[in-house]
Amino acid sequence: MDLFHKEPILKDCSLWRCSPLKPKTKGVVKADEGEIYDIELDVNILKANEKLAEENKKTLSEYGVTAVDVMGSIGSGKTSLIEKMIEILRDRYRISVFKGDLTTTIDAEMIAKHGVESVPINTGKECHLDANLVSKALRKIDLSKIDVLFIENVGNLICPADFPLGSEKRIIVISVTEGPYMIIKHPFIFMDADVVAINKIDLAQAMEVDINKLKLDVGSINPKAVPVPTNCRTGEGVPEIVKALGL
C-alpha cells in the first residue's frame, strides 16, 4: 500500500458534502404551528405616564420652575384660587398657567386677563390631564422666563390621583357646597396632597357643614396635608395657602 495514497475513511459518509469552513449550527428551534406560548410580560400600564412625569419634573427643575398642581371638584374654585394667588405673587414671581379643560378656553381666557401667560390644554373627553399633555404644553412656553407654573387639572377627584404630572406640589380645592362627605368619600386623591383648600367658607352655615370636621378629615387621611379654609371671592385664606405651598 502506498502510504501517501490513503483512502478517505469517510468516503460514503454524507459529511463529505459539508464544507469544513461552515460552522455547524444545531438548527433554530421554532414553535410549531398551534403551539402555545406563555409569556411573562410584567407591563405596568400606568408606568408610561409615571416616566413622562419624571421627565417633566426634571425639565422644570433644570429651569428652576416650581410647578403646582391645582386639582379639585367641578366648580370648587380652582380657577378663582389661581387668580387670587396670582394677585399676591405677581410682584415676586413670573407666573404661567396651564389650564386643563374638556374643550373650552373660558377659564384660560379669564386668567389671561391678569396679564399672565395662560396655555389652555383641551383634553377632549378625557377626564384628567396626563403627563404627555403637560409635556407638550411645556414645549410651548419659554421656561427660562418663568418662576412659577400653576397646572389646573380638570374638575375631578378620582382619576387625577393616578396620573402624576411632574409637579413639585399638589393642592386640592374642595368647597363646603359639596357637602360634608366629600373628603372621606375620595380619600386617595388627598393622600397625594400638600395643601387642601376648603373653599366657600362664607356658605358653610347655609350648608350646615362643619369646617373643623373637614379639616379633621384631611388630617385623618393624610397628616402631612395642610387644610386651609378659604373664600376665593374675597381672598380670605389665600395668603395662608401661598405660605403652605412654600411660595
Binding site: A31, Y37, D42, V43, I45, D162, F188, M191, D217, S220
Partner: protein
C-alpha cells in the same frame, strides 16, 4: 385604560404573529381608580373582532401596602373608623408610631402574562 391594556396585548401578540390569545393575567392595584368589573366588561367589548375575542381574562387584585420611614412598619394600608359617620376611612397614619407612611404598592395596573397560540 382598558383600551391601553388591549392595545398592549395586541402589540405583543402581533410581534410573535400569534393566531389567538387564550389567557390574560392582569393585576390591578386596589389603590387605583380601576374597577375590575368595569375592566372585565370593557375588555369583552374591545376584544370583539380581535384575536383577543374569547380569551380568558383573570384579574387579581393587589392590596395597597405601605411602609413607615420612621419605625419601619410594613403592611397593608390601614383604615380608621370615622368618629362621626362610623365608616372606615383609609389613612396614611402609621398604626405603630402615628407618623406618616408612604405607599409602596397597590397603585399599578400590570399585564402579568399572556398565553397565546402561534
Amino acid at each position: 385604560m382598558t383600551t391601553q391594556i388591549v392595545e398592549s396585548i395586541l402589540k405583543e401578540a402581533d410581534k410573535r404573529q400569534a393566531k389567538r390569545v387564550m389567557e390574560v393575567d392582569l393585576i390591578v392595584g386596589s389603590l387605583t381608580f380601576l374597577n375590575p368589573d368595569q375592566l372585565r366588561f370593557w375588555f369583552g367589548v374591545l376584544a370583539k373582532g380581535t384575536i383577543l375575542e374569547k380569551s380568558h381574562l383573570r384579574i387579581k387584585s393587589k392590596e395597597g401596602t405601605v411602609r413607615c420611614l420612621q419605625c419601619g412598619f410594613e403592611g397593608i394600608l390601614n383604615c380608621v373608623d370615622d368618629p362621626v359617620y362610623h365608616i372606615p376611612v383609609p389613612t396614611l397614619l402609621c398604626p405603630k408610631c402615628r407618623n406618616v407612611v408612604e405607599i409602596v404598592d397597590g397603585k399599578e395596573c400590570t399585564i402579568k402574562s399572556i398565553k397565546m397560540v402561534i
